[in-house]
């Protein structure tokens, strides 16, 4: 038996099987969540390449699986990463029924997870771009639900994501040339530019970010949250893989400057633009842009790999709570679509849905980096590292956070605004209220006690030994 069979084939096949049972909505959600938790547990407990004894049977789980002449390898050092990925998937799947984000979410989400883990495992690693493209295609039915009009955001998402992988593949060929003759500056420049364009498209870096707010406005917030957390994170892992493998890439000042510029643009534009939005979904989209920007910036500072992985928990929690709160607003107000998330439509909603409104604001302020919330410790570490490099960079990224903070204040105003006296009441369903309260408590706990989770997440960076040093 091989590790790829357990952590790639099993979730993939399970997703395909669950797809045919999607009629039983609650069952598929429960099964999907349990399978993800089991796989996370297996990644935590099972030792790769060691003899495992279960009663009279014994077996060894090997690192590699050969498919079509290429190896898919999951090593023991990657097991903490697998735990993190499966826990993240379980977290998003567990609330699908409560968020009512479609019957295809869990089955196809499992296939997406399998493809993304295959992208981590495939050798040569630049083939990961192809698997990420396949994952992007599988995401489309999650984002565009049957019976609803298809918006331009989904189409633009497919187009821009599909442009990315040819650049990455082509850069792989150029990089091989750079390794053979590192003195050729022209070849190095071409390889860097091609690679840069690939990541510009895949990570939706300015000016190719336009699909994010469009998609966030048109699609179900819980689906958007899932896609905008998991896809850019896995693409960033691919980027870290490139930096880890190629010495010249991680030591090249122009390359680091370009990554920094991309990160700063994402944080600044995402933050500032969010302050001018009138649609809660679009604000969520811009917040995800800010998160992508912070991930990019984390790659450029000292101990960046550790910081990159530490950002995962605050991001997952905040975007998850935010997306669940928005989904509840859509579900409560009507089922007609995401127009219910306009400021004009949510006026006074805080008086009917105080827990949802609080969750929305707590998540918004956490992404903005407000002290005592989950986002603050990692933001503080990043700002402190950036300040040692350039004060201007730190100030610009803080401006992005200020923009998000302003959008939170505007949301608060819209939620509280009422024409006439309206009594306060709790209209949320118990399950939603419970999950939101747990989410908010975790956001506060992660903000107050960052040492509980930071070292564990930072340890995952050991999969990139060259940049983790």
């Amino acid at each position: 038996m091989s590790s790829a069979l357990i952590w790639i084939i099993v979730p993939g096949i399970s997703g395909i099987i669950l797809y045919f049972f999607r009629r039983w909505y609650r069952t598929t959600v429960a099964c999907g969540t349990v399978i993800m938790l089991l796989l996370a547990g297996a990644a935590w407990k099972i030792h790769i390449d060691e003899l495992i004894k279960i009663g009279p049977w014994s077996m060894t789980i090997h690192e590699s699986l050969v498919i079509l002449g290429r190896q898919f390898t999951l090593t023991p050092s990657q097991q903490p990463l697998l735990v993190a990925i499966f826990m993240l998937m379980a977290f998003w799947f567990a609330l699908v029924y409560v968020a009512d984000s479609g019957r295809m979410y869990v089955p196809l989400g499992m296939v997406v997870g399998a493809l993304l883990i295959a992208a981590i495992a495939v050798e040569p690693f630049l083939y990961a771009a192809l698997l990420i493209e396949l994952a992007v295609l599988v995401c489309v039915p999650i984002l565009a639900q049957p019976g609803h009009p298809i918006g331009k955001g989904v189409l633009r998402f497919i187009i821009f994501q599909s442009f990315g992988f040819p650049f990455i593949l082509f850069s792989g060929w150029l990089l091989a040339g750079v390794q053979a003759s590192p003195e050729e500056l022209l070849l190095m420049t071409r390889a860097s530019l091609t690679l840069g364009f690939g990541f510009l498209f895949l990570l939706a870096i300015f000016p190719f970010h336009t699909w994010i707010p469009m998609l966030a406005e048109e699609s179900h917030p819980y689906a958007v949250g899932f896609v905008l957390v998991i896809l850019p994170w896995m693409v960033s892992l691919l980027g870290l893989g490139f930096m880890d493998r190629y010495l010249w890439l991680r030591t090249s000042v122009p390359v680091i400057n370009m990554v920094q510029l991309g990160g700063v643009m994402m944080v600044l534009i995402g933050g500032i633009w969010s302050a001018f939005q009138h649609h809660l979904g679009r604000i969520l989209g811009y917040a995800c842009m800010v998160e992508i920007g912070f991930s990019l910036l984390s790659m450029t500072v000292s101990n960046g790999a550790q910081l990159f992985f530490t950002l995962l928990l605050p991001r997952g929690l905040a975007i998850g709570v935010w997306a669940l709160a928005l989904s509840t607003i859509i579900r409560t107000k009507s089922n007609t679509g995401t127009d219910q998330l306009r400021f004009s439509a949510i006026q006074g909603a805080a008086r009917q849905m105080p827990i949802v409104s609080t969750g929305l604001l707590v998540a918004n302020f956490s992404v903005a980096g407000l002290p005592l919330l989950a986002g603050f410790p990692s933001r503080l570490a990043l700002w402190s590292d950036l300040t040692s490099q350039s004060l201007l960079l730190a100030i610009i990224t803080m401006l992005g956070s200020v923009g998000l903070f302003i959008s939170g204040i505007r949301t608060l105003r819209a939620l509280l605004m009422v024409d006439q006296d309206q009594n306060w009441s709790i209209q949320e369903r118990t399950s939603v209220a419970l999950f939101l309260i747990i989410g908010m408590v975790l956001i506060v706990l992660a903000g107050l006690l960052p040492n509980w989770f930071s070292p564990t997440l930072a340890q995952i960076s050991q999969i990139f030994p060259n940049i983790a040093r």
Partner: protein, 197 residues
């Protein structure tokens, strides 16, 4: 090895079909041209790949065309018109295509230095497909046109990449992406008329 005249014939074929995809307003012609285009793609990847891999590429393209065709036939009638009727629409597209063709000519002739391992007709066919696909994508919001544009651009890239990489896994994954794009295109065409879940 494929002889030079066959390659030149394939370049002419993909140029004509990609131009046709850009200009026609009837979706049936558009899908048919896409299917024929994959014959040209087959001849352009044939010098670099073993015949069975090149055939797999062509068959995947035909299947993609068939999937999109079936989706169009079963989708709501509002999708059947590919463009808004405009008097000078086709003329504008033709002019845009000619300008792009000029740019491609210049690019192909200057690519000798950095793509010297790929012969001129293959480069020509590849760049024509990539650029006409991009032009198609920039001029429309219709899902069929978008997905034919993406498939056209992707074919162009695959021709170029075939000369650099001969992995079976890559061929399989690229065929998977071709089919995946067609399936997603079909889903987008029929999803609005599907029963809400």
């Amino acid at each position: 090895m494929t002889s030079e005249p066959v390659l030149i014939g394939a370049v002419i074929l993909v140029s004509l079909t990609s131009m046709l995809i850009l200009l026609v307003r009837d979706w049936r012609y558009c899908v048919s041209a896409l299917a024929v285009q994959y014959i040209g793609v087959f001849f352009l990847v044939f010098p670099s790949w073993p015949v069975e891999m090149a055939v797999a590429k062509m068959v995947a393209g035909w299947m993609a065309g068939a999937i999109l065709g079936i989706a169009m036939a079963t989708s709501s009638s509002s999708w059947h018109e590919l463009d808004q009727p405009a008097r000078f629409g086709p003329l504008f597209r033709l002019l845009a295509a000619l300008i792009v063709a000029l740019t491609v000519t210049s690019l192909v002739l200057h690519s000798e230095t950095w793509l010297s391992m790929i012969n001129l007709p293959t480069r020509w066919g590849s760049f024509v497909l990539i650029s006409f696909g991009l032009l198609q994508l920039s001029l429309t919001t219709h899902p069929l046109r978008i997905f034919t544009g993406l498939l056209t651009s992707l074919s162009g890239f695959e021709i170029l990449y075939a000369a650099l990489e001969m992995s079976t896994l890559v061929t399989g994954l690229l065929a998977g992406i071709t089919l995946g794009l067609a399936l997603v295109g079909a889903y987008i065409l029929v999803a609005p008329s599907m029963e809400s879940t």
